[in-house]
Amino acid sequence: MNWRGVALSRIRLARHELLGGGHGERRRGTRARPLLAATLGLVLGTIVMLGLMVLFLQLEQDGVGAREASAVLALLLTATLVGLLAFDLHEVVSAMLLDSDLEFLRRAPIPGWALFLIKLLDALPRTSVLLVILGVPALIAYAAIFPVAWWCWLLAIPALGMLWAIALGLGVAVSVALLRVVPARTAREVLGLLSTFTLFALWLGNSFLLPRLALESGSPRALVEALGSSTLAMAWSPGAWAAGIMAAGSADAPVAALRGLALLAATAAAVLVAAGAVASRNLDRVQSRISGAPARSAGRADRATRFAARPDILDALLRRDLRLYLRDWTVLGDILVASVLWTLLPLVGLPILSTDAGAAPGIDRTLLARAMLLALTVALGYEIATRAIPFERGGMAWMRLAPVREQAWVAGRGVSTLTLALPIVAVATVAVTAAFALPLHAIGGTLALVMPALVTALATGMWTGAVHGNFAWTHPRAMLTLTGRAIATLLLLVQAAGWLVTAILIDQLPPWAYAVPFAFSILAAAGLLAATAQHLRRRQW
């Protein structure tokens, strides 16, 4: 095989993927926004780096040395590794099994392991975000507080690449083996669900465990000590080896650093060899299974459906969405799990606030309940509304073919999104207000904030989804482009902060002040939905 030629062609492909190019991109109106994506990546990476620098600085001021602090770095790098598995594995599996060039590559005289390597490298641009916004900032933050020798960087960057290879190589091997025995659709859904539960576990660990370890004892050192107590597991994890390189760099001990790199390299090589072997044996068969049509009996649905006597676009959109959401249960499951997480978020923040304030009972129950419900409603804009438009995939083109106004279509999508969000908000409201035993007037005041927040969040989410939607999504958590995810996250933070401030201030204002959020939300939603319709009118298919 002409490795140089293959490498050059893949570099060209990666360049087109990152920077956009070709008529097709322009035709579909999906212009790449490399500058915006790079800027957002840089901003997020900088925020993470500054946050971690504060953490390492606190550790250093608490008398923690470079070697001990590397346990925290190891935890962060392990989180990067797990995050790669949770959020990016689907990208590699898609590259491996669904990319448009697979038919061509499968017919070329390329051994299975080489095809595996080519597609793994193809997926690199799509799967390197976590390295940019978490892995690299963690290394820089550590080195800023515990200075390292210059040669350390020559080893640390390849070490990050090896972490990437270990995570995704391992994930691909398991996925290909899984796809060999279970139907493709089931496997994709299982992977999606695993990703959701991994997110759930990570979130629980990150939100409940770490703050308590670090802050309830009143000292960040407790975090290091807690991590030190699980020495064996931590010492034999790839994240710890990579962190060990930095610790060795800080102690100017190149031999120890090289030992860490050797361990990482050996593990990465072993994982890649194993994954290559699994792929070369099974990839062809799995690809054939996936490219074939699913078994017909799998999808038999209700025969009793009838044509509407008097057609109505809203009724049609609602019925269609109900069917699609119920049949795409990974999307629905993901929304429900995320709803629980977001509702609990302010509760998680409570121990941190109370420790800082020095008195736990000082928190106002009504304010906490409002914060929980506002967190949920704002998040539903991200979890449900940003997916509303890309969820339709290419089916959105019917909006341009049918004699229906774009505004009517978008309004219909808005109503169906609200229909999905309202029961979640209702259940959460009942649960939270009952748990906190809020009086009736407090419930009324809470709803007077929650409803406008919901309307604004849903409209904001729909606009984000229309402008930055990934209409070819393969994973329920990736219906936005990378840029879109960053923008949606920023919008979510801005809204959450705004509504929280409103919740704190509003009771100090006269009662008519409650009308202001309503008026604001109606105006904002109208403007955003009009912008969404306008964008979709301009979009080309």
Binding site: A301, P311, D328, R393, G394, G395, L401, V404, R405, Q540
Partner: protein, 258 residues
């Protein structure tokens, strides 16, 4: 909420189902369609022929409103697509080269959805869908999810969806590809029946034998420009024995790369 529908008599009856004047479509610096003029008359099947990359699909997508025209006008039954889009859209059906579906609806559910967005009452849509499913041999799989369909079945559902509201103009982009011989025959019959009822049909294809047997007139396109237009006899000119293939190859070679 109901879809906006054209007012009765909104379309100009005398206007042809499709009239395209000076159509230009560019992708960056590349001009895919370059000043194209043609029309589909009532009761005719117009064949849209051209080699790969000639601009057939781009033209059809512009006519369907999926792509914006950079210059020129597109009128459907006299209604300009850019200024009276709802009237124009109600008057045509489109079968794209890659069918546009919701994969996790059944064929029947998809047609119910299409009937609703085109404002076709159940009393009309139901028997029409049943007949289309029957003729296209989809009745046994109408309640299966579309994601389980083969390429040919998807193509047939796409045809049924485009015909469900009985439009004055039907535009089809390479509709025969992927259909089995029986399916291709049924589709050709359906198109001829539509033409016989005075409706317009525009078919893009590069299968010359299909065009020769199916189309009343053809437009030959290359590099985004119209090379010729007319009935087969008109295109043959003095060479009565020439086939459409001969005419096509002679025309496209003249304009092809040196």
């Amino acid at each position: 909420m109901t879809p906006a529908r054209p007012a009765p008599g909104a379309a100009v009856d005398a206007a042809p189902p499709l009239r395209v004047l000076g159509l230009v479509r560019r992708y960056g610096k590349f001009t895919a369609v370059d000043g194209l003029d043609f029309e589909v008359r009532s009761g005719e099947i117009l064949g849209f022929l051209g080699p790969n990359g000639a601009g057939k699909t781009t033209t059809l997508r512009c006519c369907a409103g999926l792509l914006r025209a950079d210059q020129g006008s597109i009128e459907i039954l006299g209604a300009p697509l850019d200024r009276r889009p709802l009237v124009a859209r109600a008057a045509f059906g489109f079968v794209p080269d890659q069918p546009i579906f919701y994969e996790r609806l059944t064929g029947r559910e998809f047609l119910q959805f299409v009937a609703a967005i085109y404002d076709v009452p159940g009393a009309i849509a139901e028997p029409r869908a049943r007949e289309l499913f029957l003729r296209l041999e989809l009745d046994s799989v109408a309640d299966d999810l579309i994601e389980t369909y083969s390429h040919g079945m998807r193509q047939k559902v796409s045809v049924a969806a485009a015909m469900l509201h009985d439009p004055a103009l039907l535009m089809l982009d390479e509709p025969i590809l992927g259909l089995d011989p029986a399916g291709a025959r049924v589709l050709k019959d359906l198109l001829r029946e539509r033409a016989a009822r005075g409706l317009g049909v525009l078919v893009s294809t590069h299968l010359l034998d299909v065009a020769e047997r199916l189309c009343d007139r053809v437009v030959i396109l290359d590099h985004g420009r119209k090379l010729a237009e007319g009935t087969l006899d008109e295109l043959r000119g003095s060479k009565a024995a020439a086939t459409l293939e001969d005419v096509f190859l002679a025309l496209t070679r003249e304009t092809g790369p040196a």
